[in-house]
């Protein structure tokens, strides 16, 4: 089983995507399954260590929080652009954040969250020191942003992945 | 009634996205540095992709979806390639 399907979740997801992109039929189900199994073998050749989820039940909560935060910061950045940065009072800046996360998959998810949220941009991560360099669009209080990344996202990712 | 609402919303979206593409094009032309131009190009690809989806909704045909997907993939590959070039290409100078 594990030799035939090294990544069952990935394989299932690929079959699902294949069926969404085409219309459901038996032929497409078979073809999609073949493609998905081949792709998961290719994946196995690329990446020997598989990400292990420790608590998958925390994922929906994280997704909800992130979707809400993205909507909120969309409104905030849109308003800042419309109002010309509160009449020139907006100040952007760089921010270094020490991270406890080390798991590559968890870091990738954090990168997606940070970049997808308007207002924060992921610039550089140093794997030796674990320090992340962010650029923040509206840097009112550094403590707020540290708190947001470390307590709101990182703590949940630590719970899920490590 | 609902046709009027949708036609109005889709017309607004087409004008807004065309304008957005023009603004991204302005950033490509103006620069001032290479990374600004690449960022403009990436934004231009995204707006073009969204414009295709909106046009597909307006014409009621599903075929625009494939075009949008191809534009999205091409935009991704182009931007990644150009960004890599900006990192690597300048080291030699």
């Amino acid at each position: 089983m594990s030799r035939l399907l090294p990544y069952p979740v990935l394989t299932f997801g690929l079959v699902l995507i294949w069926l969404i992109l085409t219309r459901f039929s038996l032929g497409h189900l078979l073809l999609g399954t073949c493609v998905a199994i081949l792709a998961s073998w290719a994946m196995g050749a690329l990446q020997p260590d598989r990400p292990s989820l420790r608590r998958a039940t925390a994922i929906p909560g994280l997704v909800g929080i992130v979707a809400w935060d993205i909507l909120r910061s969309n409104a905030a950045v849109a308003w800042l652009i419309l109002s010309g940065g509160r009449g020139g009072a907006r100040r952007s800046g760089f921010l270094r954040i020490p991270l406890r996360l080390r798991h590559p998959a968890a870091l990738a998810v954090l990168a997606i969250i940070v970049t997808a949220t308007p207002g924060t941009a992921w610039l550089e991560y140093d794997p030796e020191t674990g320090v992340l360099l962010l650029h923040v669009f509206d840097l009112v209080d550094e403590g707020d942003w540290l708190d947001l990344i470390q307590n709101r996202y990182e703590a949940r990712l630590l719970e899920i992945f490590e | 009634m609902s046709g009027t609402i949708l036609a109005f919303a889709l017309g607004f979206a087409q004008i807004a996205l065309a304008l957005a593409g023009a603004l991204a094009g302005l950033r490509i032309l103006r620069g001032p540095r290479a990374q600004d131009r690449v960022l403009g190009l990436d934004t231009f690809y995204i707006t073009a992709m969204l414009l295709f989806i909106v046009t597909g909704m307006r014409s009621g045909s599903l075929f625009f979806f494939e075009a949008a997907m191809v534009i999205g993939f091409m935009g991704f590959v182009a931007t990644v390639g150009l960004a890599k070039f900006l990192i690597r290409g300048e080291v030699i100078e």
Binding site: I81, A121 | G3, D42, I46
Partner: protein, 125 residues
């Protein structure tokens, strides 16, 4: 426009709102792209279009075509997923390229490399 008239009002209104929201946010993002003063500021502008800008239009399209075709049409959502995953890659690469180029040219807009001993709370105007 005959196919648009067959849509009932309770589907048309949310679809129209999502379309206007998505295209409006994308337009605002590009306005920011043109108006903001520095590259690192401009790096934030396109994310308006790639987050809820794309999501709004893609959701509207999925709802509309699901109604028009009388079957579940959600392949537009894959575009949303795809944009969601690829945008961080492109923007991170662009951000790193800009940092790299600024550091090579010695512009003081760029912070020093992470290994350099500096004040961790450092920030630049």
């Amino acid at each position: 426009m005959s196919h648009l008239d067959s849509v009932p009002l309770w589907v048309a209104i949310p679809v129209a709102l999502l379309i206007v929201l998505g295209s409006g946010l994308t337009l605002l993002g590009t306005i920011g792209l043109v108006r903001l003063p520095s590259f690192y500021d401009r790096l934030h502008a396109p994310t308006l279009g790639t987050s809820w800008g794309t999501l709004g239009i893609v959701l509207a399209s999925a709802i509309l075509f699901t109604w028009l075709e009388k079957r579940l049409v959600i392949h537009e959502l894959l575009i949303g997923l795809f944009v969601m995953i690829t945008t961080p890659v492109t923007l991170m690469l662009l951000g790193r390229a800009a940092l790299h180029r600024d550091r090579i040219e010695g512009l003081d807009a760029a912070p020093p490399p992470a290994g350099a001993p500096d004040n961790p709370d450092e920030q630049l105007p």
